[in-house]
Symmetry: C2
Subunit: 200 residues, 2 copies
Protein backbone atom coordinates (compact mmCIF):
# COMPACT_ATOMS: atom_id res chain seq x y z
CA UNK A 1 0.00 0.00 0.00
CA UNK A 2 1.10 3.49 -0.58
CA UNK A 3 0.49 6.81 1.09
CA UNK A 4 -1.74 7.48 3.97
CA UNK A 5 -3.06 10.91 4.91
CA UNK A 6 -1.34 12.35 1.87
CA UNK A 7 -4.64 13.99 1.03
CA UNK A 8 -7.74 14.84 3.01
CA UNK A 9 -11.16 13.65 1.91
CA UNK A 10 -11.83 17.11 0.50
CA UNK A 11 -8.59 17.09 -1.45
CA UNK A 12 -9.32 13.69 -2.94
CA UNK A 13 -12.80 14.91 -3.90
CA UNK A 14 -11.36 17.96 -5.63
CA UNK A 15 -8.74 15.86 -7.41
CA UNK A 16 -11.41 13.44 -8.61
CA UNK A 17 -13.61 16.21 -9.95
CA UNK A 18 -10.68 17.74 -11.79
CA UNK A 19 -9.66 14.38 -13.22
CA UNK A 20 -13.23 13.70 -14.35
CA UNK A 21 -13.31 17.05 -16.15
CA UNK A 22 -10.02 16.23 -17.86
CA UNK A 23 -11.33 12.87 -19.04
CA UNK A 24 -14.54 14.46 -20.31
CA UNK A 25 -12.61 17.12 -22.21
CA UNK A 26 -10.12 14.71 -23.73
CA UNK A 27 -12.19 11.60 -24.37
CA UNK A 28 -15.73 12.90 -24.56
CA UNK A 29 -18.83 11.95 -22.60
CA UNK A 30 -19.35 8.23 -22.21
CA UNK A 31 -15.64 7.67 -21.61
CA UNK A 32 -15.91 8.62 -17.98
CA UNK A 33 -15.53 5.71 -15.55
CA UNK A 34 -14.73 5.27 -11.89
CA UNK A 35 -11.61 3.24 -12.59
CA UNK A 36 -10.29 5.88 -14.99
CA UNK A 37 -10.82 8.66 -12.47
CA UNK A 38 -9.26 6.59 -9.70
CA UNK A 39 -6.21 5.81 -11.81
CA UNK A 40 -5.83 9.45 -12.82
CA UNK A 41 -5.61 10.59 -9.20
CA UNK A 42 -3.36 7.72 -8.13
CA UNK A 43 -5.88 5.88 -5.99
CA UNK A 44 -8.09 2.84 -6.51
CA UNK A 45 -11.85 2.65 -6.99
CA UNK A 46 -12.36 1.77 -3.36
CA UNK A 47 -11.02 5.12 -2.24
CA UNK A 48 -13.37 6.91 -4.63
CA UNK A 49 -16.28 5.24 -2.89
CA UNK A 50 -14.90 6.35 0.47
CA UNK A 51 -15.20 9.93 -0.65
CA UNK A 52 -18.26 9.86 -2.91
CA UNK A 53 -21.45 7.90 -2.30
CA UNK A 54 -21.33 6.75 -5.91
CA UNK A 55 -20.61 7.89 -9.46
CA UNK A 56 -23.81 9.92 -9.54
CA UNK A 57 -22.53 12.08 -6.71
CA UNK A 58 -19.23 12.70 -8.48
CA UNK A 59 -21.02 13.66 -11.67
CA UNK A 60 -23.33 15.95 -9.73
CA UNK A 61 -20.26 17.80 -8.49
CA UNK A 62 -18.82 18.01 -11.99
CA UNK A 63 -22.15 19.39 -13.20
CA UNK A 64 -22.12 21.92 -10.39
CA UNK A 65 -18.81 23.35 -11.57
CA UNK A 66 -20.12 23.36 -15.14
CA UNK A 67 -23.14 25.34 -13.99
CA UNK A 68 -20.88 27.78 -12.16
CA UNK A 69 -18.73 28.35 -15.22
CA UNK A 70 -21.82 28.73 -17.36
CA UNK A 71 -23.16 31.41 -15.05
CA UNK A 72 -19.78 33.16 -14.90
CA UNK A 73 -19.60 33.21 -18.69
CA UNK A 74 -23.06 34.66 -19.01
CA UNK A 75 -22.50 37.31 -16.36
CA UNK A 76 -19.15 38.32 -17.83
CA UNK A 77 -20.55 39.35 -21.22
CA UNK A 78 -23.62 41.04 -19.75
CA UNK A 79 -21.56 43.72 -18.00
CA UNK A 80 -20.78 46.10 -20.82
CA UNK A 81 -24.01 46.05 -22.81
CA UNK A 82 -25.99 49.18 -23.68
CA UNK A 83 -29.54 47.83 -23.42
CA UNK A 84 -31.50 44.78 -22.24
CA UNK A 85 -31.94 43.36 -25.73
CA UNK A 86 -28.24 43.38 -26.54
CA UNK A 87 -27.56 42.03 -23.05
CA UNK A 88 -29.85 39.07 -23.60
CA UNK A 89 -28.38 38.44 -27.04
CA UNK A 90 -24.87 38.49 -25.63
CA UNK A 91 -25.86 36.15 -22.83
CA UNK A 92 -27.46 33.72 -25.27
CA UNK A 93 -24.36 33.70 -27.46
CA UNK A 94 -22.16 33.20 -24.42
CA UNK A 95 -24.25 30.18 -23.52
CA UNK A 96 -23.86 28.77 -27.02
CA UNK A 97 -20.13 29.35 -27.10
CA UNK A 98 -19.63 27.74 -23.73
CA UNK A 99 -21.59 24.73 -24.91
CA UNK A 100 -19.49 24.56 -28.07
CA UNK A 101 -16.20 24.88 -26.23
CA UNK A 102 -17.11 22.46 -23.46
CA UNK A 103 -19.42 20.14 -25.30
CA UNK A 104 -18.80 17.01 -23.24
CA UNK A 105 -19.41 18.71 -19.92
CA UNK A 106 -22.35 20.75 -21.17
CA UNK A 107 -23.82 17.54 -22.55
CA UNK A 108 -23.33 15.67 -19.31
CA UNK A 109 -25.12 18.43 -17.43
CA UNK A 110 -28.29 17.75 -19.40
CA UNK A 111 -28.13 14.08 -20.36
CA UNK A 112 -27.23 12.64 -16.97
CA UNK A 113 -30.21 11.21 -15.20
CA UNK A 114 -30.24 10.25 -11.53
CA UNK A 115 -31.72 6.83 -10.68
CA UNK A 116 -35.51 6.67 -10.41
CA UNK A 117 -36.16 7.69 -6.78
CA UNK A 118 -33.15 9.98 -6.21
CA UNK A 119 -34.20 13.64 -6.29
CA UNK A 120 -31.90 16.44 -7.45
CA UNK A 121 -30.43 18.00 -4.29
CA UNK A 122 -31.79 21.42 -3.50
CA UNK A 123 -28.42 23.15 -3.65
CA UNK A 124 -28.31 22.11 -7.29
CA UNK A 125 -31.77 23.53 -7.99
CA UNK A 126 -30.67 26.72 -6.26
CA UNK A 127 -27.72 26.99 -8.64
CA UNK A 128 -30.07 26.61 -11.62
CA UNK A 129 -32.35 29.26 -10.17
CA UNK A 130 -29.33 31.55 -9.87
CA UNK A 131 -28.63 31.29 -13.59
CA UNK A 132 -32.25 32.06 -14.45
CA UNK A 133 -32.20 35.07 -12.14
CA UNK A 134 -29.40 36.48 -14.28
CA UNK A 135 -31.64 36.15 -17.32
CA UNK A 136 -34.63 37.64 -15.52
CA UNK A 137 -32.84 40.90 -14.74
CA UNK A 138 -32.60 42.34 -18.26
CA UNK A 139 -36.14 41.11 -18.95
CA UNK A 140 -37.29 43.11 -15.94
CA UNK A 141 -35.51 46.16 -17.34
CA UNK A 142 -37.34 45.65 -20.57
CA UNK A 143 -40.70 45.66 -18.82
CA UNK A 144 -40.27 47.50 -15.52
CA UNK A 145 -44.00 47.43 -14.76
CA UNK A 146 -44.30 43.66 -14.87
CA UNK A 147 -43.91 41.67 -11.67
CA UNK A 148 -40.94 39.46 -10.99
CA UNK A 149 -42.95 36.28 -11.49
CA UNK A 150 -43.91 37.30 -15.02
CA UNK A 151 -40.32 38.05 -15.90
CA UNK A 152 -39.12 34.81 -14.36
CA UNK A 153 -41.64 33.00 -16.53
CA UNK A 154 -40.27 34.87 -19.56
CA UNK A 155 -36.74 33.91 -18.50
CA UNK A 156 -37.80 30.27 -18.56
CA UNK A 157 -39.31 30.74 -22.01
CA UNK A 158 -36.43 32.53 -23.69
CA UNK A 159 -33.81 30.31 -22.07
CA UNK A 160 -35.69 27.22 -23.14
CA UNK A 161 -35.34 28.53 -26.65
CA UNK A 162 -31.64 29.24 -26.34
CA UNK A 163 -30.99 25.88 -24.72
CA UNK A 164 -33.06 24.02 -27.30
CA UNK A 165 -31.19 25.67 -30.14
CA UNK A 166 -27.88 24.62 -28.58
CA UNK A 167 -29.10 21.10 -27.97
CA UNK A 168 -30.48 20.52 -31.45
CA UNK A 169 -27.79 22.54 -33.17
CA UNK A 170 -24.74 21.01 -31.50
CA UNK A 171 -26.16 17.51 -31.85
CA UNK A 172 -26.62 17.88 -35.59
CA UNK A 173 -30.40 17.81 -35.51
CA UNK A 174 -30.81 21.06 -37.44
CA UNK A 175 -28.42 20.55 -40.30
CA UNK A 176 -30.64 19.19 -43.02
CA UNK A 177 -31.35 21.67 -45.83
CA UNK A 178 -29.48 24.84 -46.54
CA UNK A 179 -26.69 26.32 -44.50
CA UNK A 180 -27.31 26.88 -40.84
CA UNK A 181 -25.35 28.96 -38.36
CA UNK A 182 -26.14 28.46 -34.67
CA UNK A 183 -25.09 32.04 -33.86
CA UNK A 184 -27.52 33.52 -36.36
CA UNK A 185 -30.27 31.14 -35.29
CA UNK A 186 -30.00 32.11 -31.65
CA UNK A 187 -29.75 35.84 -32.31
CA UNK A 188 -32.85 35.76 -34.48
CA UNK A 189 -34.74 33.60 -31.97
CA UNK A 190 -33.99 35.98 -29.12
CA UNK A 191 -34.81 39.00 -31.28
CA UNK A 192 -38.20 37.71 -32.38
CA UNK A 193 -39.15 36.53 -28.92
CA UNK A 194 -38.26 39.86 -27.35
CA UNK A 195 -40.37 41.80 -29.85
CA UNK A 196 -43.34 39.81 -28.62
CA UNK A 197 -42.37 40.06 -24.97
CA UNK A 198 -41.73 43.81 -25.07
CA UNK A 199 -45.00 44.50 -26.86
CA UNK A 200 -47.32 42.64 -24.49
Amino acid sequence: MARRNDHSREEIQAMAIEAAIDILNNEGPGSLSTRKVAKAIGYTVGTLYLVFKNLDELILQVNATTLDELEDGIVAVSQDQLNPVSTLKAMALAYLHYAQDNFARWSLLFTWRLPEGEPVPEWFDAKVAGVFEKVREPLQQLRPDSDAQTCLQAAREIWSGVHGACDLGLNGKLSFGGEFKPDTLIESLVENYLIGFAKA
Copy 2:
Protein backbone atom coordinates in the same frame (compact mmCIF):
# COMPACT_ATOMS: atom_id res chain seq x y z
CA MET B 1 -31.53 -25.43 -30.17
CA ALA B 2 -35.04 -24.38 -30.93
CA ARG B 3 -36.86 -23.12 -33.97
CA ARG B 4 -35.34 -22.45 -37.29
CA ASN B 5 -36.88 -20.28 -39.99
CA ASP B 6 -39.73 -19.49 -37.65
CA HIS B 7 -39.17 -15.85 -38.49
CA SER B 8 -37.46 -14.01 -41.31
CA ARG B 9 -34.72 -11.47 -40.64
CA GLU B 10 -37.24 -8.69 -41.13
CA GLU B 11 -39.66 -10.27 -38.69
CA ILE B 12 -36.98 -10.63 -36.05
CA GLN B 13 -36.00 -7.00 -36.60
CA ALA B 14 -39.58 -5.87 -36.14
CA MET B 15 -40.00 -8.03 -33.04
CA ALA B 16 -36.81 -6.63 -31.55
CA ILE B 17 -37.87 -3.04 -32.16
CA GLU B 18 -41.24 -3.71 -30.58
CA ALA B 19 -39.64 -5.42 -27.60
CA ALA B 20 -37.22 -2.54 -27.16
CA ILE B 21 -40.12 -0.08 -27.14
CA ASP B 22 -41.89 -2.18 -24.51
CA ILE B 23 -38.83 -2.24 -22.30
CA LEU B 24 -38.37 1.51 -22.66
CA ASN B 25 -42.01 2.17 -21.78
CA ASN B 26 -42.05 -0.17 -18.80
CA GLU B 27 -38.58 0.22 -17.34
CA GLY B 28 -37.43 3.61 -18.57
CA PRO B 29 -34.36 4.60 -20.57
CA GLY B 30 -31.15 3.07 -19.32
CA SER B 31 -32.82 -0.28 -18.75
CA LEU B 32 -32.54 -1.27 -22.36
CA SER B 33 -30.02 -4.03 -23.05
CA THR B 34 -29.34 -6.49 -25.81
CA ARG B 35 -29.86 -9.49 -23.55
CA LYS B 36 -33.22 -8.16 -22.39
CA VAL B 37 -34.43 -7.57 -25.92
CA ALA B 38 -33.19 -10.99 -27.01
CA LYS B 39 -34.94 -12.72 -24.13
CA ALA B 40 -38.17 -10.82 -24.81
CA ILE B 41 -38.33 -12.08 -28.39
CA GLY B 42 -37.28 -15.63 -27.49
CA TYR B 43 -33.86 -15.54 -29.09
CA THR B 44 -30.31 -15.08 -27.80
CA VAL B 45 -27.98 -12.12 -28.20
CA GLY B 46 -26.17 -13.80 -31.05
CA THR B 47 -29.29 -13.72 -33.20
CA LEU B 48 -29.77 -10.03 -32.49
CA TYR B 49 -26.31 -9.38 -33.92
CA LEU B 50 -27.20 -11.39 -36.99
CA VAL B 51 -30.02 -9.01 -37.72
CA PHE B 52 -28.60 -5.70 -36.45
CA LYS B 53 -25.03 -4.51 -36.83
CA ASN B 54 -25.05 -3.53 -33.17
CA LEU B 55 -27.17 -1.91 -30.46
CA ASP B 56 -26.78 1.50 -32.06
CA GLU B 57 -28.54 0.27 -35.17
CA LEU B 58 -31.45 -1.12 -33.15
CA ILE B 59 -31.80 2.13 -31.25
CA LEU B 60 -31.67 4.08 -34.49
CA GLN B 61 -34.66 2.08 -35.68
CA VAL B 62 -36.51 2.67 -32.42
CA ASN B 63 -35.78 6.38 -32.78
CA ALA B 64 -37.07 6.29 -36.33
CA THR B 65 -40.47 5.01 -35.20
CA THR B 66 -40.49 7.62 -32.42
CA LEU B 67 -39.86 10.30 -35.01
CA ASP B 68 -42.68 8.93 -37.17
CA GLU B 69 -45.14 8.95 -34.29
CA LEU B 70 -44.03 12.43 -33.34
CA GLU B 71 -44.70 13.67 -36.87
CA ASP B 72 -48.07 11.89 -36.98
CA GLY B 73 -49.10 13.47 -33.70
CA ILE B 74 -48.14 16.92 -34.88
CA VAL B 75 -49.88 16.55 -38.23
CA ALA B 76 -53.06 15.16 -36.64
CA VAL B 77 -53.76 18.23 -34.52
CA SER B 78 -52.82 20.68 -37.23
CA GLN B 79 -55.71 19.60 -39.46
CA ASP B 80 -58.64 21.41 -37.93
CA GLN B 81 -57.10 24.73 -36.96
CA LEU B 82 -58.44 28.09 -38.07
CA ASN B 83 -55.21 30.02 -38.51
CA PRO B 84 -51.43 29.53 -38.63
CA VAL B 85 -50.89 30.77 -35.09
CA SER B 86 -53.34 28.33 -33.53
CA THR B 87 -51.92 25.62 -35.77
CA LEU B 88 -48.42 26.20 -34.48
CA LYS B 89 -49.62 26.34 -30.88
CA ALA B 90 -51.50 23.08 -31.31
CA MET B 91 -48.46 21.45 -32.90
CA ALA B 92 -46.22 22.62 -30.08
CA LEU B 93 -48.57 21.25 -27.45
CA ALA B 94 -48.86 17.98 -29.35
CA TYR B 95 -45.07 17.74 -29.25
CA LEU B 96 -45.05 18.35 -25.51
CA HIS B 97 -47.79 15.83 -24.83
CA TYR B 98 -46.10 13.18 -26.89
CA ALA B 99 -42.89 13.76 -24.98
CA GLN B 100 -44.77 13.52 -21.69
CA ASP B 101 -46.60 10.34 -22.65
CA ASN B 102 -43.57 8.64 -24.16
CA PHE B 103 -40.84 10.12 -22.06
CA ALA B 104 -38.37 7.25 -22.27
CA ARG B 105 -38.51 7.02 -26.06
CA TRP B 106 -38.55 10.77 -26.59
CA SER B 107 -35.55 10.99 -24.29
CA LEU B 108 -33.69 8.27 -26.12
CA LEU B 109 -34.23 10.10 -29.40
CA PHE B 110 -32.22 13.05 -28.13
CA THR B 111 -29.79 11.62 -25.62
CA TRP B 112 -28.45 8.73 -27.68
CA ARG B 113 -25.13 9.51 -29.25
CA LEU B 114 -23.56 7.43 -31.97
CA PRO B 115 -19.86 6.55 -31.49
CA GLU B 116 -17.35 9.21 -32.54
CA GLY B 117 -16.89 8.52 -36.26
CA GLU B 118 -20.31 7.09 -37.12
CA PRO B 119 -22.46 9.66 -38.96
CA VAL B 120 -26.27 9.77 -38.68
CA PRO B 121 -27.63 7.96 -41.76
CA GLU B 122 -29.20 10.27 -44.31
CA TRP B 123 -32.60 8.59 -44.16
CA PHE B 124 -32.73 9.68 -40.54
CA ASP B 125 -31.84 13.26 -41.38
CA ALA B 126 -34.54 13.16 -44.04
CA LYS B 127 -37.09 12.16 -41.43
CA VAL B 128 -36.05 15.07 -39.24
CA ALA B 129 -36.33 17.41 -42.22
CA GLY B 130 -39.85 16.06 -42.78
CA VAL B 131 -40.93 17.09 -39.32
CA PHE B 132 -39.51 20.58 -39.77
CA GLU B 133 -41.28 20.91 -43.10
CA LYS B 134 -44.57 20.44 -41.25
CA VAL B 135 -43.64 23.34 -39.00
CA ARG B 136 -42.54 25.49 -41.91
CA GLU B 137 -45.92 25.33 -43.65
CA PRO B 138 -47.96 27.40 -41.19
CA LEU B 139 -45.05 29.83 -40.88
CA GLN B 140 -45.15 30.27 -44.63
CA GLN B 141 -48.88 30.99 -44.40
CA LEU B 142 -48.12 33.61 -41.79
CA ARG B 143 -45.68 35.35 -44.10
CA PRO B 144 -46.57 34.39 -47.68
CA ASP B 145 -44.08 36.84 -49.17
CA SER B 146 -41.06 35.33 -47.45
CA ASP B 147 -39.05 32.67 -49.23
CA ALA B 148 -39.03 29.05 -48.11
CA GLN B 149 -35.49 29.33 -46.72
CA THR B 150 -36.49 32.13 -44.36
CA CYS B 151 -39.47 30.17 -43.08
CA LEU B 152 -37.39 27.04 -42.68
CA GLN B 153 -34.99 29.06 -40.57
CA ALA B 154 -37.93 30.29 -38.49
CA ALA B 155 -39.11 26.69 -38.15
CA ARG B 156 -35.72 25.79 -36.70
CA GLU B 157 -35.95 28.71 -34.31
CA ILE B 158 -39.44 28.13 -33.00
CA TRP B 159 -38.98 24.37 -32.78
CA SER B 160 -35.74 24.81 -30.90
CA GLY B 161 -37.77 26.74 -28.37
CA VAL B 162 -40.49 24.14 -28.11
CA HIS B 163 -37.98 21.34 -27.84
CA GLY B 164 -35.89 23.17 -25.26
CA ALA B 165 -38.95 23.83 -23.13
CA CYS B 166 -39.83 20.13 -23.22
CA ASP B 167 -36.25 19.12 -22.45
CA LEU B 168 -35.78 21.44 -19.49
CA GLY B 169 -39.35 21.13 -18.29
CA LEU B 170 -39.66 17.35 -18.35
CA ASN B 171 -36.23 16.93 -16.80
CA GLY B 172 -37.10 19.13 -13.86
CA LYS B 173 -34.72 21.95 -14.75
CA LEU B 174 -37.38 24.66 -14.67
CA SER B 175 -39.12 23.91 -11.41
CA PHE B 176 -37.36 26.15 -8.96
CA GLY B 177 -39.45 29.12 -7.85
CA GLY B 178 -43.17 29.48 -8.17
CA GLU B 179 -45.50 27.18 -9.97
CA PHE B 180 -44.72 26.29 -13.53
CA LYS B 181 -46.93 24.65 -16.15
CA PRO B 182 -45.22 23.36 -19.30
CA ASP B 183 -48.36 23.89 -21.38
CA THR B 184 -48.58 27.56 -20.44
CA LEU B 185 -44.86 28.04 -20.93
CA ILE B 186 -44.91 26.65 -24.44
CA GLU B 187 -48.03 28.52 -25.50
CA SER B 188 -46.58 31.80 -24.32
CA LEU B 189 -43.22 31.09 -25.94
CA VAL B 190 -44.83 30.36 -29.30
CA GLU B 191 -47.10 33.37 -28.99
CA ASN B 192 -44.31 35.82 -28.25
CA TYR B 193 -42.04 34.44 -30.93
CA LEU B 194 -44.75 34.62 -33.57
CA ILE B 195 -45.50 38.25 -32.78
CA GLY B 196 -41.90 39.02 -33.63
CA PHE B 197 -41.83 36.75 -36.66
CA ALA B 198 -45.10 38.08 -38.12
CA LYS B 199 -44.05 41.67 -37.64
CA ALA B 200 -40.68 41.49 -39.40
